[in-house]
Amino acid sequence: MPLAFLAPVFLAGLALLAVPLIIHLTHRQRKEVTAFPSLMFLRQIPYRTVRRQRIRHWVLFALRCLAIILLALAFARPLFQRGGLAGAASTSTGAREIVILLDRSYSMGYGDRWTRAIEAARRVLDGMRASDRATIVLFAGAAEAVGRPSSDRATLNAMLDGARLSSGATRYAPAIGLASTILAESQLPRREAVLISDFQRSGWTGDTDARLPAGATVTPVDLSDPNPSDVAVANVALQRSRSASRERVLATARLTNIGEQPETRTVTVALNGRALEAKQVSIPARGAAAVTFAAFALPEGSSRVVVSADVDALPSNDTSFVSVAPGEVIDVLIVDDLAASANASLYLRRALELGENPPFRVALAKGNRLGTAELRGRHVVILNDVNPGAAAVRALREFVHRGGGLLMTLGERATRGAWSSEARELLPAAINSVADRMESGSARLAGIEYSHPVFEPFRAPRSGDWTSGRFFRFASTTVADSAVVIASFDDGAVALAERPLGEGTVALWTSTFDGSWNDLPVQPVFLPFVHQLAKHLAGYAPVKQSWKVGEVVNLSQKDANSSGGADSLAGASASEPSLTAKGTPGAPGGITVPELVARAPSGGTIGFAAGARDRYLALAERGFYEIRRIGSAGQPERVIAVNLDPAESDMTRIDPAVLVRAIAPRVSANASATDTVSLTAEARERRQSVWWYLLVAALLALAAETALSNRLSRHGAVG
C-alpha cells in the first residue's frame, strides 16, 4: 500500500526543519533586557562564539521537528494507493461496458465547462479498447441515451459532436437510473460509469434510491470552478394597474449574485422586442437586488416582456421572460328589484369596483325579466334581493349550466312573495321564513368553513373579524341535499350555501348586502368577502405569467375555457384567460376542438390532434412558446413564457465523493465499497482524509511543545 501525495510541492516545507535546528543550536536572544548593577566583571570575560554550542532541550527540539514534518505531510495531502486493486483494474483484460453520463444542464454553460466536459468524454472514448462498448447519456432534468451502446469510436465521437447544452436543471437521479439499466443489461465483464458534471448540490436530493448495479464502478469528473461568479435574473414580477381603459404594468426584476464580489449590471426591459428602459443595478456579493422599471401601457393581445442583464460567464440565466395580456376582468351583472331604490346595490357595486386583481366590470340591471342577451359575456350574476320570474330563472339556469356563477341575496322583496317551483329548484336552500333578531339580540356568523375558497383568505389569525358583523334579520332556510353550507349563524341557521349546477355554481346569501338586515357592508371583511365570492363564482384562477423549463402545460384546459363563448381563445382576442377552470356561458356550444400547434423558442413545432382530450406540452426550452390554431394567421392565440429553473443558478458544489458513495452499488458484507468504486486520486484522498489525522497530530505536537516550552521558560531555561 504505497504512499502518494496529491500536492507533493508542500513537501518542500520540510526545509523548515532547519528553523528549530538553528534555534536549538543557537541561543535565542531574549527580547527583554536584563538590568544589572554593573557589567564590570562581565566585560572582563572574553566573548564566545556559537560554534561550540550543541543542541539543547532535545525533547523540545524533537517536538518542533515532528510538528513541522506532520504539517508538511498534511499539506501534501497524502493518500494510500491500493496497489492491488489499481493494478488489477489496470491489468484486467475484460471488455468494459462504459456509460458516459454527460451533464448538459444549463449551468454547464458557465465559462468553458461544456468544452471541458466534451474533452473529458473524448478522453474516455480514447481510452476504449476494441472490445469495450460505450453509451453516451446526456442528462439535465431528464436523462437521454444518445444512440445505442457502441464500440465504434467514430460513431461515439459523432454523438458527442451533436451534444448540446439544454435549458434544464441538473438532476442526477434519472441519469443514474438510466446508467444502472444499461449496465445491468450488459453482459460484458466490467461495467463502468463516468460521471462528467459540475456537481451542483441542487441536483442531488439524496432521497432517491438510484444506484448502480453490483460490480459497477463510477468515476467522477469534476468540472466545477472553485469560486464561480455569476449574476442571474432570478425572476420578474409584474404589477398591473388600470387607468382609464388601459392597463399599465410595473415590472420588477430580481437579480442574484453568487460571486464573492459585488457586481454592477445594466438591466434592460423590452416589450415585444422593443427596449423600453435600461437601468444600472448593483448587486452585493452573495446577495440579491431588485430593480423596478417605469410602468408601461399594455398593448392588445399577448405581450412578451423580456428582462435581460449584461452577459457574463453564464449567459443563459441573464434573461427572464414573462408573457402578459390584458383582459383579466370579471364581468359581474347586479340585478336589482324594480322597486328597489337606486342605492340598493351601492355597497355591492362599490366593493366590486374597487377590485384590481382582477378588476371587476360591474353592470346593473333592473327588473326580474332576464334573458340570454343580458347574460351574454357575464361571469357572475348577482340577484340582489330579487325574486326572479320564470323566464329569468330559465335563462339563469342555462347560464349556470354553462359555467356561470349565480349569487342570490335575500331581503324584504325576495322573501315577500312565493318563489316559483323552477326558481326553488335553482336555490341551494328552500326559504322558510324570516328570522327577526331585532329584539332577542343580533345574530352573528359563527360557523364558517375556512377551507372553502371564499373564506380561505380569512383563515389565518388577524385576517378578518367575522364576529363584528351583526345580523338583525335573515331568511330561515332548509338546505337542499346537493348544497353545501359554507357559513352559518350562531343559531345554526344557514348564512351562505352553494350548490353546483352544470359547470357553474349557485350561491345563496340569506341576508342582504345593502345594510338593511345587517351591518356587514360597513365591516372591514365585507370588501374582501365580496371579491372572494365573485372570484369563486366566476371560477377565477390567477394567470401564470411564466413557467419553468421542465414543467408541462395542459393546453386542453385552455381550450375547455374557450369552448364556451365570449372568453374563448378566438373570441377574447387571444388574451390570457383568467377563467381557466370554467368556460363562460352564453355562447353557442358544440364547437369542435380545433387542432393546435405549439412553436418552441428554437423554432421547432409540436402538433396536437383535434380529438385529443388532454394535450400536454412539455416545456423544454427557455423563451416564448407560441400556441396557434392550424390555419389561423396573425397573432398567436397563446404565448407561454418559459424560464430556466433558478435553482440551477446556485452553483454550490456537492463533494463528488459523497455523490459517488450515494450511487455506488450496495456492498455486501464481505466486500468493501472501494472494491466497487474506482475513484480519482483526489476523491480517494478526500475519502481517506489522512491529512486530517496528520493535522491533528501536528496540533497535538504543537500543544505539547507549547506546554514544555512554557515550563522551560518559567525556569528561564529555554532558548
Partner: protein
C-alpha cells in the same frame, strides 16, 4: 502546635520592608538587638548622674558636690555615666546600581534600613550621628549632632537612587569635612577596583577616623543565576552587551569572589573593617559587626 518564630526573624530585611516608618523600623531593629545587652560600667563625663564617692586628692574640685558638703560637711565627688560623644558618619551609596534587586528588597533599601538602624543605635549610645549620601558626588549631608536623628531618618527616607557610583571624589570631600575623629560607616556595593576602594578608604583613615565598610550585594550579583542568551544593561552607564549567562557564570563567580577577597584583604589590612552582606542577611549581623568594631575602637582609645 505552631512553630515558634525565631526572634531574629524580626530582623529579616524582607520582614522589615513591611514597616513603613523608618524610625519604627530602626527602633525595632535596635531594641531587638539590644535585648540582653548590658551597659558598660565605664564612668565618664555626661549628664547622667551615676553615684557619689569620697573626694580624693587630685580630683577635680569642680566635680565636688557642694550641696552635699553643706549637709554632711564632707567632700564628695559626683560620678556620671560614661559618654564618648563620638561622631558617627554614615556614608550611604545611592548610585543607580544600588537600586538592583533580584528578589526581596533592593540593595539601596537594605542600606537604607541599615543606616537607619545604625543611626538609631548610635543615638541611643549618645553618639552624634551624621549622614552623607553620595553617588559620584555628594548628594546630601546631615552634619553629626545628638539631635539630628529625625533629620537623618527623614533624609534616609527620601533617598532616591541616581547617578553613577564612584568613591574617590565623594570620600575625599568627606575626609576634608571631617575635622574631629569620627567613626565612618561606608555602605556601598563597591563596584570599583579594590585598589581604588583602598585609596578612598585610606583618605578617610588618614584623618584618624575609624572606617567600617559594609559591602552590600544582591544574591544574584554573587551567584549570577541567569539563563538564556540576552542583553544585559548596566544600570549606571546604560551600556548593553549580549551575554550567554550559562557560558559566563563560572567565570563571573570567580571574578566576583576575587573582587571580594581583594577588598577584604586590602581593607582588612588596616585601612578599614570590611564586612560583606547580601540583601538576604539579617540586619542584626551588621549591627553586631558595628558594635564589635565600636568596642574595639573604644578599647583602642
Amino acid at each position: 502546635m505552631p512553630a515558634l518564630r525565631s526572634p531574629t526573624s524580626f530582623l529579616d530585611p524582607a520582614v522589615l520592608a513591611r514597616i513603613d516608618s523608618l524610625e519604627l523600623l530602626a527602633k525595632t531593629v535596635v531594641q531587638g538587638f539590644l535585648t540582653g545587652l548590658h551597659r558598660a560600667p565605664k564612668l565618664g563625663m555626661s549628664m547622667d548622674f551615676a553615684e557619689h564617692r569620697a573626694y580624693m586628692p587630685g580630683d577635680d574640685t569642680r566635680r565636688i558636690d557642694w550641696r552635699l558638703y553643706g549637709r554632711t560637711d564632707r567632700f564628695y565627688i559626683k560620678e556620671f555615666e560614661a559618654d564618648t560623644n563620638a561622631n558617627v558618619y554614615l556614608l550611604l551609596d545611592i548610585s543607580r546600581s544600588m537600586a538592583f534587586s533580584s528578589a526581596g528588597i533592593s540593595k539601596l533599601d537594605y542600606g537604607r534600613y541599615l543606616a537607619a538602624s545604625l543611626a538609631y543605635f548610635c543615638n541611643r549610645q549618645r553618639d552624634r550621628v551624621g549622614l552623607v549620601t553620595f553617588a559620584n558626588t555628594i548628594v546630601n549631608v546631615v552634619p553629626p549632632a545628638l539631635k539630628h536623628l529625625d533629620v537623618v531618618l527623614h533624609t534616609i527616607d527620601r533617598i532616591e537612587p541616581g547617578g553613577q557610583g564612584a568613591l574617590r571624589d565623594p570620600l575625599r570631600a568627606i575626609s576634608e569635612q571631617v575635622r574631629r575623629r569620627s567613626i565612618v560607616v561606608l555602605i556601598s556595593d563597591l563596584y570599583e577596583e579594590p585598589v581604588a576602594v583602598l585609596q578612598a578608604a585610606t583618605m578617610l583613615r588618614g584623618s584618624g577616623n575609624d572606617l567600617i565598610v559594609f559591602h552590600i550585594l544582591d544574591p544574584a550579583e554573587r551567584e549570577f543565576p541567569f539563563d538564556g542568551a540576552g542583553t544585559f544593561e548596566d544600570l549606571e552607564s546604560g551600556e548593553r552587551i549580549p551575554i550567554v549567562p550559562e557560558q559566563l557564570r563560572d567565570e563571573y563567580r570567580r571574578l566576583v569572589a576575587e573582587h571580594i577577597t581583594s577588598l577584604s584583604s586590602m581593607l582588612g589590612a588596616g585601612a578599614a573593617d570590611y564586612a560583606l552582606f547580601d540583601t538576604s542577611t539579617p540586619l542584626d549581623y551588621a549591627l553586631f559587626r558595628f558594635l564589635s568594631n565600636r568596642l574595639r575602637a573604644s578599647r583602642v582609645r
